[in-house]
Amino acid sequence: MFWHFLTQPDLWAQTIAMATPLALPALGGTFSERSGVVNIAMEGIMLIGAFFGVFFAYYTNNPWLGLVGALIMGAVISLLFALVTVTIGADQVVVGMGVNIFAVGLTTFLLNTIFGYGGTPTSTPHLPNLNIPGLSQIPFFGPILGQQNVVVYFMLILIAVSHYFLFHTNLGLRLRAVGENPQAADTAGLNVWRLRYLGVLIGGMLSSLGGVYLSLGLLNSFEPNMSSGRGYIALAAMIFGKWTPLGSLGAALLFGFATALSMVLQGSGISANIIQMLPYALTILALTGLVGRSTPPAADGIPYDPHK
């Protein structure tokens, strides 16, 4: 019967694996938007992270350097994004869209120019899957929690750290203040722009890490447009998760579950496609306040003009 699937550890392991490339950019978006900058460029930054992860990993023959390289490139494009949206005050949504389109083109172009048309080299090293002793021996939970890719564990740690950072540190408080009421923050002596840059930068690096997971964690190659919309789903996860790290994780797990379920249910009767629609429908409901209010940071998306 249907319920039989729920007892398969594989389903849950897949849920976590599928949730990770959503949770990371969702967490990234949380940072950015908490500081007041709407960032829909997560999709593009994921791609950039994915590509440059492979690029650096191949040329240094070291997956960890690939990861670092990807984070750096993610930071670079985030800085550019922040420059245009925070300092200059251009429309954050339009520019974000621009980054996405640009990233698709750039990564595919570089892929073909540097690696030719046969795909990235198969000798590219990839990030290891961990097998945590003790944890992975536990029946049922073992395979789920003990045998994931290293990036998954990074993600879980980052979520916990982010939660602590945002809600239990002074800097986190300042970041949130800037996203709620930049004018009040300014008169309290905070540097609004610097804090927003920080939010965008952290956001970009996290999205980039999400991309690296796709290319170096799950696989060891880069394919054109491999993020395939996950950046946008992460956006939905962030909103559904009420702009908090734990909420983003929860929402990502929900979405991941839907994806994993659809894979497991193939050919069973209930259409995988209908199930996959659920997370999106839920997001709309959340936005319209029917499934609990989902309110963004008050100054989200409004460039701060100190002369207003």
Binding site: F167, H168, T169, R174, A177, A184, A185, A188, L190, A298
Partner: protein, 506 residues
Amino acid sequence: MGTCLEVKGITKAFPGVVANDQVSLDVRDGEIHAILGENGAGKSTLMKIIYGLYQPDAGRISLYGQELRFASPRQAIQAGIGMVHQHFMLIPALTVAENIVLGGEPGKVRYRRKENEEIVRELSRRYHLEIDPSAKVGDLTVGLQQRVEILKVFYRQAKLLILDEPTALLTPQEIEELIQVMRRLREQGVPIIFISHKLDEVKRVSDRVTVMRAGKTVATLETAKTTPQELANLMVGREVVLQVAKPPQVPGETVLEVKDLVVTAGRVDKVKGVSFEVKRGEIFGLAGIDGNGQFELVDAITGLLPTKGGQVKFLGQDLTHAPVDKRTLAGIAYIPQDRQQDGLVLDFEVAENFVLRDYFRPPFAKAGQLQAKAIAEHAAGLAEAFDVRPRRIHAQAKNLSGGNQQKIILAREVSRNPELLIAAQPTRGLDVGAIQFIHNKLLELRAAGKAVLLVSLELDEIMALADRIGVIHNGRLMAVIPGGQATREQLGLLMTGVQPGKEEEA
């Protein structure tokens, strides 16, 4: 008592106006010093200079004998200037403690929730400002939010407390509590500057009062030794009234009838049961200090704000809940206070703005299609008649100067031949020539037997034009006086809430 703050000869000019002209005052330790003045008196500019948002052109400011110049609000805060703005600088989503310590949080990395809340409780005890440090600011009443603002100032170890129109958004109960708070602070030796236009409060709380008018400090008096009449006199002064030839006229039937109107904005009733009438052939002037409900009143009459209670009747028709276009069609024309946001669509062409309220009527539209030629002709004619410059009717409205933008609105509203024209601050920011032009137009309408409701913050304007003057204060109509008989002092008193003969607020 020592002198805490000394302001000497502060002058600040903007293109076209001298906002502060040799302003001088001093504030002593442990006194509550009120600054009283009308709109445009220069209080706000002075305060902005004191807390570092503006730099003065001349003059100096000394704090406890030390001359200081602030390049930014941050510097002023650091020097000990504690400003509580009229519009709070608070973050509703954060807690009281978080708001207070923001930017000066103790500790390095960790946010010390318990310690911070204890700090706030300690401050709260010391200054007798009871508050729950863990409450979310957004959940607090405005009165309590104000306490948070004040505590913020003390957390930064302010030496001087400046309250800018603190009672503007408070309920009477909260005002009482604030006055108690101020008295207690005074007992502790905290100097307070209290900016207000409400005579009764100034009388009750302050030790000394400095009256400002037209950018100058007119007098500094001991509050106990002065009377409301004297203060009102100083506030409002004797100035030359704009000479306008106004032929006498007998008003006709009632065109607009407002009964017990109640209008809410936010959580406060801005209009608390106002009743009056406007008749044909007269200009009814509504005077009052900004923020006393007059603009909400007008917005409700024109349909831009919903009415909570009462009635609006126009030519016998009940329009209390009618949509905007119905009122326009019935014959109400409106020149709004915010010309750029409400009166125009700046991105549209001048011609399109000329028909902004009539675009769907013939001859401007036929069967849903705009008739470009008719619109252009109409626009060109109006631009000519009202001298709108430049005459390019296909230019975007945003490229015109403020005065010309206002002319577009005026031309549009006047030329639609309304039965009632409501004009809110119609001559704001305009040069003398334009002001004269608009005044003449209003008088023309009056002569033609139309009704005009003029809402203005300029007493001169109202006194020159109005046949009858209503004074609004704190959402209530204090009195309606015939225009010819009104004096500035009388109006000034009414505007600050003092009924002639009584000392307290009505």
